[in-house]
């Protein structure tokens, strides 16, 4: 049973931050042409760093030394990367990779 109050707070904070990035620039800069170069630069490069951060975050519980040594994750990631480079289709890669991972966890590495 999740802590629903905490969940709601997290939801509101994250939603608030997203709105901040979508609406605040208009509120602040909507009537002037002066947008700081540094802000524009960060807005451009940070999203490119964020995906790597999120990928590592998702794998935070994996240990190379224990459990399944990260082998199922490695195989499923290879499926995602190969299928995406081949078909360039997000849905296909996500469904395929997840299916392979679930089969590996539930039937192979039990």
């Amino acid at each position: 049973m999740p802590d629903y109050t905490h969940a709601l707070i997290i939801l509101l904070v994250m939603g608030g931050c997203v709105i901040l990035t979508r609406v605040l620039p208009v509120v602040i800069f909507g009537w002037s042409e002066q947008i700081p170069e540094f802000i524009l630069y960060l807005g451009k490069v940070i999203p490119y760093t964020a995906m790597g951060l999120l990928i590592v975050y998702c794998f935070r519980d994996i240990s190379i030394l224990g459990g399944t040594h990260g082998v199922p994750e490695l195989i499923a990631m290879a499926v995602v990367v190969a299928s995406y480079l081949w078909k360039r289709n997000t849905i296909v890669s996500v469904v395929l990779g997840t299916a392979v991972y679930m089969v590996l966890l539930q039937m192979v590495f039990v």
């Binding site: 997203v18 524009l40 951060l53």
Partner: protein
């Protein structure tokens, strides 16, 4: 549109498996309305700290800054409804409306509102549907969380393909990995973010020499985008 619904279903399903029903998915689609942020929020809703959640959301959606700024000129005549248009300006909607190819004889203002609304409604429809499917179907969901990292990986690959300069992508990956090893599983995210911002600031000249930041008007498709909401 199909991508929106299918990813929405995946999100709703995942939420359900983490103990958050269709109404939570609907609330998330209204409060956050950003695919990537919503997917990360599932993990953070049960264990994350408020600071970590806020910083993660800011980092992932920093690109919206550009979308909104480049629409200021177009939306200046929209009146109060422009606040809805900005709030719901996701990657897909931006990609459609920044092309300025309103069909002949169609009211531009109405077209913008309809496209924006239709995108959000199809996303919400997917989220709720996924939540309902998750409630009805009972199956062994062990490993379904992989959908999250699979989605981020496809975005990572698309960003890699779209850009010549890979310093930001490599920095994000390496800094986070090193911080995970040094700080442990509960504390690494914030140090990683700090290192990333410092590194990007320090390497600004090099990165801009390779790919200069143009005006607030991106000429390309939203490459920094996440390909969904």
């Amino acid at each position: 549109m199909v991508t929106f619904i299918v990813l929405g279903i995946g999100f709703g399903l995942l939420m359900q498996k983490h103990g958050f029903g269709p109404l939570w998915s609907l609330a998330s689609g209204i409060i956050i309305y950003s695919g990537t942020v919503q997917f990360v929020s599932i993990a953070l809703m049960s264990t994350g700290s408020v600071l970590m959640a806020g910083l993660t959301a800011l980092m992932v959606s920093a690109r919206h800054l550009f979308f909104s700024i480049s629409m200021i000129g177009r939306y200046s005549t929209e009146g109060p409804r422009k606040w809805y248009l900005y709030y719901a300006l996701c990657d897909e909607t931006y990609a459609m409306l920044s092309k300025d190819d309103t069909p002949e004889g169609v009211n531009v203002s109405g077209y913008r509102l309809l496209v924006t609304l239709f995108d959000q409604l199809s996303w919400l429809f997917g989220c709720v549907l996924g939540g309902c499917v998750g409630t009805l179907l009972s199956f062994n969901s062990t490993g379904i969380d992989f959908a999250m990292v699979a989605l981020f990986t496809t975005v990572f690959l698309q960003q890699w393909i779209d850009t010549k300069n890979h310093i930001p992508a490599i920095t994000g990956l390496l800094a986070t990995l090193v911080c995970r090893l040094i700080f442990g599983r509960d504390l690494f995210l914030i140090p990683a973010m700090i290192i990333i911002v410092i590194t990007m600031t320090a390497m600004r000249r090099r990165i801009e020499a390779a790919e200069p930041v143009e005006s607030a008007e991106p000429t390309h498709e939203p490459a920094g985008g996440d390909g969904d909401a």
